[in-house]
């Protein structure tokens, strides 16, 4: 009873706060603030025609580094907990259709992921979606068998390597141009071509491999804690 009243009270306070905002809302029709500056100068500053990637990797690259650290700590906690408390009861063998799909389809999905990751400055995509699609390809391999995939042993090394690459690419900018993650260290080239926009494709690849190895590590830990058959 008290619980229900409390829940109602919380929701009512939230609704009242939200309602008090409504009269002040009006539709945005023009860019302002940081978004205006990014839209005006993004292309010539970074050479990336995808402004979202320019913001993630170049302008707010330090924040992305911190975000990757948060992701790393969450994934590490999951793996640590699952290695401390194994959960028994392994999976059954896959059916014919799933087993054969899992043999054919991972390669095209990985190709798609590499496309999204390396073309992050030219088309929609980038490190985060590319990394999650790579993790999906790993997941498909895992779904098609009843044991942990053999490649999962190199996941921690891959994770460390990509994280270090990200940091070193950032420090390169600090050494040469005095600015962390400045992407002009190797010149921005001709915008619109694959080899352009400085280090943005490299940093995107590092982010993608990092995200992919975190999520693949989570799935491998899930499968290992269930025990192999």
């Amino acid at each position: 009873m008290i619980r229900t009243l409390f829940v109602l009270l919380v929701l009512l306070v939230l609704a009242a706060a939200a309602t008090s905002v409504i009269p002040h809302l009006k539709m945005r029709t023009e860019l302002d603030g940081a978004g205006l500056e990014y839209a005006r100068r993004g292309l010539e500053d970074t050479g990336s025609i995808n402004l979202v990637t320019a913001v993630i990797v170049a302008y707010r690259g330090l924040d992305t580094l911190g975000e990757v650290v948060v992701l790393f700590s969450a994934a590490t906690s999951v793996m640590l907990i699952l290695s401390l408390f194994p959960l028994g009861r392994g999976p059954t063998d896959p059916s014919f259709i799933v087993a054969h799909t899992a043999r054919v389809l991972p390669a095209p999905i990985m190709l798609l992921a590499v496309y999204f990751t390396t073309h992050s400055h030219l088309s929609p995509g980038g490190g985060f979606p590319g990394g999650t699609i790579m993790a999906s390809a790993f997941l498909l391999v895992m779904l098609g068998s009843s044991s942990t995939p053999a490649g999962s042993k190199i996941l921690p090394a891959l994770e460390a390597l990509s994280g270090t690459t990200f940091g070193l690419l950032g420090l390169w900018g600090t050494m040469t141009l005095g600015q962390f993650l400045n992407n002009r260290v190797i010149g921005i080239g001709n915008p619109g071509y694959l080899v352009s926009a400085g280090i943005i494709p490299l940093v995107s690849l590092a982010i993608g491999v990092k995200v992919a190895s975190e999520f693949s590590g989570i799935f491998a830990a899930f499968r290992k804690s269930g025990g192999n058959r």
């Binding site: 829940v7 929701l11 940081a34 839209a39 292309l43 010539e44 979202v52 906690s77 999951v78 088309s123």
Partner: protein
């Protein structure tokens, strides 16, 4: 009066409120996680909505959108960049939640959050 603009805002706020309601009232711990995911989706929608400008296009400046007219042709790229990281963080946090929930339910023999006395203070 732009119907699309305000409909998305209403949908996002509704998802946040329904998600909070679920987190506060449901009994099964896994269903609380699902309600949390719904509220997460609502927050992401609201953040992207805050950078949406009607009648404009995606912030990718290829041949369809000349770079000189970018300021008057594209939506705000900043909230989109923030939401991109927020989504990935959200699913990692959901994975942590599920693992802790599974361990707690196995240790205590129940998935009912009212019986998890050790979590109370």
């Amino acid at each position: 009066m732009n119907v699309f603009y305000w409909t998305v805002a209403g949908t996002a706020s509704g998802l946040i409120i329904v998600g909070l309601w679920g987190v506060l009232t449901r009994k099964n711990i896994l269903r609380i996680g699902l309600a949390f995911t719904i509220a997460d989706t609502g927050v992401n929608l609201l953040l992207v909505w805050s950078g949406y400008l009607p009648g404009r296009t995606t912030p990718i400046l290829n041949g369809d959108v000349p770079a000189a007219e970018a300021v008057s042709a594209v939506v705000d790229p900043l909230p989109q960049a923030l939401v991109l990281t927020s989504i990935v963080i959200g699913v990692a946090v959901a994975a942590l939640f599920v693992v802790v929930a599974v361990l707690a339910s196995r240790r205590l023999g129940t998935a009912d959050i009212r019986r998890m006395k050790e979590l109370k203070w």
